[in-house]
């Protein structure tokens, strides 16, 4: 049954497993071109849809593998962490983050990769991110109610929201991703000829 029982690895073994996982993650991000802010920002000017393609291919791949494992009975029910839904802080935080993303050119993971490959703009982003997080910690007491309780819906999946089977959501997400990839290719082709 999955997830695996890691207790035999010991504390250091588990820590090492996280370093190895992070290594693969960082390696793929760099190979994808995400250590370069210009590749990331181009997404928002429709010149290069790399961010969308990589993100949605990754989500679809992981989703299908997890769904397959679940259907085959390999997954312990309820064992996967599903991010709890805090709707309004998530939406406001997402918009704020998106604005920071297009000004700063990175997101947290990609800025670490950029810094690791000695990019000075990546270094500045990471320093800024630390300051922004400190700023959040210093001010959150003033909007604690918004942060903790507004739109707090607990663990909630799209299937529950729409009242449909999980399998249907999986199919719809795949269809949406394919539609977006098709559109992304068309948009790139359009700007390539201009």
């Amino acid at each position: 049954m999955l997830p695996l029982d890691l207790s035999g690895l010991g504390r250091a073994g588990i820590d090492l497993a996280y370093v190895v996982t992070g290594f693969c993650f960082g390696f793929v991000l760099e190979q994808a071109g995400f250590g370069n802010a210009r590749n990331l920002a181009a997404q928002f000017y429709l010149r290069d849809m790399r961010v969308l393609k990589v993100m949605f291919t990754a989500i679809v791949t992981a989703m299908l593998l997890l769904f397959g494992a679940d259907v085959m009975g390999l997954l312990k029910p309820g064992a996967l962490y599903i991010n709890p839904t805090h709707l309004w802080p998530g939406i406001v935080g997402g918009i704020v983050f998106g604005v920071g993303f297009v000004i700063g050119g990175y997101c947290p993971g990609t800025s670490i990769v950029s810094l690791a490959t000695l990019k000075l703009d990546g270094l500045c982003f990471v320093v800024g991110m630390v300051l922004g997080m400190v700023c959040f910690g210093e001010t959150v007491s003033r909007f604690r109610a918004f942060f903790e309780t507004s739109g707090n819906l607990g663990e909630l999946t799209l299937a529950q929201v729409f009242g449909v089977p999980q399998g249907l959501v999986v199919v719809l997400v795949v269809a949406m991703a394919l539609g977006m990839f098709w559109a992304a290719e068309r948009i790139e082709a359009y700007f390539a000829t201009r």
Partner: protein
Amino acid sequence: MKRRRWKYLDPYLAGVLLGVVLFCSFVVFGHGLGASGGVAVLAGMTEAALLPEHASRNGYLVNLVVSQDRPWDNWAVFEIIGVALGGLVSGLLSGRLKVETFHGPRIAAPVRWLCALLGGAIAGFGVRLARGCTSSQALSGGAVLSAGSWAFMFSVFAGAYLFAYFVRRLWT
């Protein structure tokens, strides 16, 4: 421009590889990937080390680091150490490990540094408010079809696309 020794990976192939790493994280640990959580812990530890009195009176920091025996002993910290190492090795193998600044053609490097600092600060605040970043919310929560993660993901794209017009001078 110097010719690159190695091109970037095809985005769909990179996406499949990233998806497999994400899937492995779920079946090994029971949760997905994360990047901002580790940075938040390190940021909190730095603040607590510089201003211990102040940190002990801030409930958020007490929770995050002050009350922890070994605050660094957190999976998210080990994961970002791995992310940095993986990026470093990939950059080294692909001839992309060098000191430089990526910026649009119409601005100079110092302008870019200031914008990266400012954008990083805004993003850092937003990430904590949203309880996660592109990795821990959008990718991980997206793959397990969390409603809040999908709302977050579309909000990120909405915020970035809506604001892109105002900062087009930085990139185009």
